[in-house]
């Protein structure tokens, strides 16, 4: 089985990749999209005063 990786997905904010699996005839057997990053805001915001959160979470996506 042949595997093609398209990395990164472009013209967006964020990191993602596409993996395509081809069968013996060269046709697409299956394709997957993965989000290749993880941030963690859900955990590290805990404890922060609530009025500081809006200025902080705008950095999840700056676009």
């Amino acid at each position: 089985m042949k595997k093609i990786e398209i990395n990164p997905m472009t013209r967006l904010e964020g990191h993602g990749k596409i993996t395509i699996f081809l069968d013996e005839q060269g046709n697409v057997e299956n394709a997957f999209m993965q989000v290749v990053e993880f941030m963690g805001y859900e955990k590290f915001l805990i404890g922060m005063p609530i009025e500081e959160v809006p200025r902080t979470v705008t950095t999840i996506c700056g676009v």
Binding site: R11, L12, E13, F38, F44, E51
Partner: protein
């Protein structure tokens, strides 16, 4: 004569610095016409990582990296950027000092994944599966993900030639930095590209610039507990503005909008650990010892942008 080549990589960041470059608007036309942008992934161009890897070493004149280094893919590509670029710039406070996303260093990867994928009331994950670095779907399709690690600023992974702070850097400052780059008028390698003044020096609310002297803060207030008096220093009124220790290339934009500075511009020249200098400055500006105890959540305040570049780099007991 061929135009200088520019490459831009967004690692563990938010893309805000990329958009700040685009925010140059009309100035971008002047800049873009003088540069050959050969790689800008993943935000602006349709370039792939293998395109970057195929370029000859040292063939790119200027490389910009924004975002901190958070997983093995970021680490690999920033090392490739260092190989291919003659001058590498840590662009934005995430690349320079770790940024807001550096606050992940307060917790272990397991704790972060557990909260995001398993232990939240709105998450539907009955089998409690966290992301894996390798997974085989249906027994034959093998998929991989990069390994997560502690967030690091760029200079803890590769050698950095210049640093530009800001979250994101103010677009006028970026314009000046690009002009300096194109004309070759840069400070020595390893320094910050900045005008070297603190936010207070460029802030209209600074009483010293109005001929008065600064007074100590007699109270500590959260920003929800009142509004700063027009024209008065925000730190004096107790709102814990970090202006004294932050670089002011932004022109003190936040204080001019009635909001205390939170330190995104990076430390003033000569300071390695932003949080420690901020602790020193803010504690000195308070009128008595009890006020120090009233500061809510000092770690998220003083180390919001600079935890990975701090003396510990992370919380050591997690």
């Amino acid at each position: 004569m061929s135009k200088p080549k520019l490459a831009y990589y967004l690692a563990g960041g938010c893309g805000g610095c990329d958009i700040a470059v685009v925010d140059l608007a009309e100035a971008l036309v002047d800049v873009a016409l003088q540069l050959d942008i050969v790689f800008w992934a993943p935000t602006v161009l349709d370039a792939k990582y293998k395109d970057l890897e195929a370029m000859p070493d040292g063939s790119i004149d200027v490389g910009l990296v924004s975002g901190n280094v958070r997983n093995s893919e970021h680490e690999h590509i920033v090392k490739v950027m260092r190989q291919k670029c003659k001058v590498l710039i840590a662009f934005g406070i995430c690349a320079a000092c770790g940024g807001i996303k550096g606050l992940v260093n307060l917790h272990t990867t397991e704790q972060l994944l557990d909260k995001a994928y398993i232990n939240t009331f709105s998450t539907d994950n009955p089998e409690k599966v966290p992301p894996q670095t390798t997974v085989v779907v249906d027994g034959k399709y093998e998929l991989t993900l990069p390994t997560l690690m502690d967030a690091r600023p760029l200079d803890q992974v590769v050698k950095v030639d210049y640093y530009i702070g800001g979250c994101p850097p103010y677009h006028e400052h970026i314009g000046k930095a690009f002009m300096a780059l194109l004309s070759g008028q840069l400070p020595p390698s390893g320094s910050w590209i900045t005008m070297g003044k603190a936010v207070c020096e460029v802030c209209d609310r600074n009483p010293v610039l109005q001929g008065k002297s600064k007074k100590f803060a007699t109270t500590v207030k959260r920003t929800i507990e009142g509004t700063p008096t027009e024209g008065a220093c925000i730190l004096e009124e107790g709102y814990l503005c970090l202006g004294p220790v932050t670089q002011g290339d932004c022109g003190a934009k936040c204080p001019s909008a009635n909001v205390p500075c939170r330190g995104c511009g990076g430390p003033i020249p000569g300071v390695k650990d932003f949080g420690l200098r901020a602790i020193s400055a803010i504690a000195s500006m308070l009128d008595n010892e009890e006020l120090v105890e009233q500061i809510p959540d000092p770690v998220h305040l003083f180390y919001r942008y600079a935890l990975p570049s701090s003396f510990l780099g992370k919380r050591i007991k997690r």
